[in-house]
């Protein structure tokens, strides 16, 4: 009997939900990058506590997945805001436009550093981008303008100044945005320090990318899954291993692990903020302008996110590991957010 009763209730609910799909939504919906997720949720939580609006729902879908959902339409079932750990691509802007989303407001929120770290019990390493690429690339130059499979077994093989320890780096798998950024900034950055490879970019972009972006698969680079906490724990247990992950994990575990100097620059808060640390990327979120006013609280949420108490030098986002922009940049982007200036890709 009770089962029958349940079916009836569900059927009713189904009918009710299907009958009025356009019922106004009460809270903001946010999707996107898992890197921005900790920051967006922190803002969402404070926003929900400090105002009468409902706490926004933040989904962690990845940058690409988020933009796909974002551009699918502008109904109540589509997200209003998407977070991204990279800039929106022209193809995505076109896709948005094709679905009637013409006006997108872009807001840059700060930077994220990608660090190479090891156990605090081991000596700190200082490595150049070039050596890092040589240590991790699948194919490396053989000195005669050709390439050969990576022969280096220890860091000292790459450069005698580096420790004589077997190369063992744990990092994210190819599905991760952190991996994309690491490959583009660190690997390619080191790769193009070879003049002939840099010249190759113009002639044969595909071969250039294949050479610079491919990480070795012979066991020296271990794909450790998406969970950065796991990498941190493994580093603490194995002093010879290195790990690649976002700055916030280094920041939270600074008593057990230490960041390696890259190009002579340590992955420290101030040094990432002023741009001297070479492996850092910008973080963004995108807002549908047409939804402002339709969904209550979007403007107020933007105001909270772009307030000094959130993204300022001493704000709570900095506490969570976000690297703030300069005050001028912050002022500029806060204005963009307040005036809802639509994005124009040049």
């Amino acid at each position: 009997m009770s089962a029958k009763h349940h079916v009836f209730v569900i059927a009713l609910a189904l009918g009710a939900a299907a009958a009025q799909p356009a019922a106004a939504r009460e809270q903001i919906r946010i999707v996107g990058s898992s890197t921005v997720f900790p920051f967006a949720t922190a803002v969402a939580e404070r926003f929900g506590k400090a105002t009468d609006f409902k706490t926004p729902i933040v989904e962690s879908t990845g940058s690409g997945g988020g933009l796909k959902l974002f551009c699918a339409g502008s109904s109540d079932n589509d997200p209003d805001i998407t977070n991204a750990s990279r800039r929106i691509k022209p193809s995505e802007v076109e896709k948005c436009a094709a679905n009637g989303i013409d006006e997108i407001v872009e807001v840059k929120i700060g930077y994220d550093g990608i660090v190479l770290a090891n156990s605090a019990d081991a000596p700190q390493m200082s490595i150049s981008l070039r050596d890092l690429w040589l240590a991790l690339a699948k194919n490396v130059p053989d000195g005669e303008g050709k390439t050969r499979p990576n022969p280096y077994r220890t860091w000292a093989d790459v450069n005698p100044d580096l420790p004589d320890v077997r190369i063992e780096v744990m990092g994210p798998p190819p599905t991760s945005g952190t991996r994309d950024a690491f490959v583009e900034l660190a690997m390619e950055g080191g790769c193009k320090t070879f003049d002939w490879i840099k010249a190759m970019k113009k002639q044969d972009k595909k071969a250039y990318k294949a050479l610079c972006h491919t990480i070795r698969e012979d066991g020296a680079y271990v794909e450790a899954g998406e969970n950065d906490n796991l990498i941190v724990q493994k580093l603490a247990a194995n002093p010879d291993a290195f790990g690649v992950f976002g700055f916030s994990f280094l920041d939270q575990n600074s008593d057990t692990i230490q960041g390696s100097l890259i190009g002579g620059v340590a992955p420290e808060f101030e040094l990432i903020a002023d741009g001297s640390y070479p492996v850092s990327r910008s973080l963004y979120f995108y807002v549908k302008k047409s939804r402002v006013g339709e969904v209550p609280g979007i403007e107020e949420y933007l105001a909270e996110f772009t307030s000094e108490r959130a993204w300022g030098d001493d704000g709570y986002l900095a506490d969570k590991g976000l690297i703030p922009m300069t005050p001028q940049e912050r002022a500029q982007w806060a204005r963009t957010a307040a005036e809802l200036v639509p994005l124009k890709l040049e």
């Binding site: 939580e45 989904e59 906490n229 600074s254």
Partner: protein
């Protein structure tokens, strides 16, 4: 018929062969025992490790602070009007008057959780009506996650020497205590580990499973009964049977994609709602329930059916009065196995938006919600170290939920078995 003449069967004459056979049997038993022992050992190890880390989340560090309310303290508790943060900062400065300088003060303020403001607000609500004179409230306020880790596990984390000294000072004077963490069971999710709770995920799981059960149990059982007892065996029924068996092996993410395409995009049902989550999980559990139920029905001896039909019962009467009650324990087992699988799923929920940060506790199947395994996944992925023990505690809650479900199944099974 073999000719055994000339060969006597002497059982004592070949003790070697017999010994070998007995030894083989003993070895096999030994191996079996060892396997069980090993499996049990791993289980104990796993549960022990989780319980060991997880129990920390049940306790919370609190700091005693005397908060002076100004004479004109607002009677209203509107957060916009009263500056709770300011009052707390003042109280902290009063406790540590020697702290000066902007940077040091900021460090000092970070000893308290942002949840302390909420606690102060509550306390002001409870406190007697404001008089004319200045009042002092003595409160136990939640400490920040880093202080919490230092006090409970002696892990300094990001705390510097100065903060550690302050904590030591507070400890000596008894102004720090470790109390039961009620918030873990009453709060929704939070970005601050010391405030994060399991309530929203637990409610989400309960709603989702309720929908899943309400859909998959009747449909699965009735489908199985029809296929087993009424459907004519033929090309169609075997085609359906093959399909059901295949569906049981389909990876769960595929059901999530289906849910996204059909329930969200076609039907326009609300994203992240337990309704859609339950529907997707119901699709996933249906094949399991149907297969188990059919097996249970098949195990009912044909004599029962024949006897019932023989005394003039109709097919429906035969099935519902005699066959189903006998098969019900098996059907329930199948349902619980299916539901238990649904309880642990995150992959299909990802596609329909239930892998999300949700603070508010869902009050119906249409409100946005998340589920226990999703909460575990999200916490395990958080940079703050204090989420580690939250993760383990959430796993304990999930396992308890599972044991509870199984218990219900066993009780129901026993009840039905007694009746027949």
């Amino acid at each position: 018929m073999t000719d055994t003449s000339g060969r006597t069967l002497d059982f004592t004459a070949r003790p070697a062969a017999l010994r070998r056979r007995h030894a083989a049997e003993a070895r096999f038993r030994m191996a079996g025992r060892l396997a069980i022992l090993l499996a049990f050992g791993f289980l104990v190890l796993m549960l022990g490790a989780i319980a060991h880390t997880g129990t920390g989340a049940l306790k919370q560090t609190q700091i005693r602070l005397q908060v002076a309310l100004p004479a004109d303290a607002p009677a209203s508790t509107d957060p916009a009007k009263a500056d709770f943060g300011g009052l707390l900062k003042q109280a902290l400065r009063a406790r540590f008057p020697e702290v000066s300088g902007r940077k040091d003060k900021r460090r000092l303020y970070r000893l308290l959780s942002i949840g302390a403001e909420e606690r102060l607000r509550e306390a002001m609500l409870e406190a007697p009506a404001p008089g004319a004179q200045e009042r002092v409230l003595t409160l136990w306020l939640p400490a920040s996650d880093e202080v919490d880790l230092l006090v409970k596990h002696d892990q300094p984390g990001r705390l510097g020497e100065q903060e550690q000294r302050w904590v030591a000072q507070l400890r000596e004077s008894g102004e720090i205590r470790v109390a039961f963490n009620r918030g873990f069971f009453l709060n929704g999710d939070s970005r601050e580990p010391e405030l994060a709770g399991i309530a929203s995920a637990l409610a989400g799981t309960a709603w989702t499973l309720a929908v899943c059960f309400a859909l998959s149990f009747p449909i699965g059982i009735l489908g199985a009964i029809y296929l087993e007892e009424f459907a004519r065996k033929g090309r169609w029924s075997s085609f359906i049977e093959v399909n059901i068996n295949n569906l049981a092996a389909v990876p769960s993410i595929v059901f999530g994609l289906l849910g996204l395409a059909v329930f969200l995009n076609l039907f326009g049902l609300p994203r992240s709602s337990p309704l859609v989550g339950g529907m997707v999980l119901a699709l996933m559990t249906l094949p399991t329930i149907i297969i188990a139920s059919r097996a249970a029905l098949r195990a009912v001896p044909p004599a029962i059916r024949e006897a019932a039909l023989g005394i003039g019962a109709t097919r429906v009467q035969t099935v519902f009065h005699h066959v189903v009650p006998l098969a019900l324990p098996g059907m329930l087992t199948g349902t619980i196995v299916g539901m238990a699988r649904a309880l642990g799923e995150t992959a299909p929920l990802l596609m329909i938006g239930m892998v999300a940060f949700i603070v508010d506790i869902p009050g119906s199947i249409l409100e946005p919600a998340t589920a226990l395994p999703v909460q575990i996944f999200l916490w395990a992925d958080s940079p703050e170290r204090a989420f580690l023990e939250k993760t383990s505690a959430a796993i304990i809650v999930l396992i308890t939920f599972l044991v509870f479900m199984n218990l219900i199944a066993i009780l129901m099974r026993m009840k039905f078995r007694k009746r027949f």
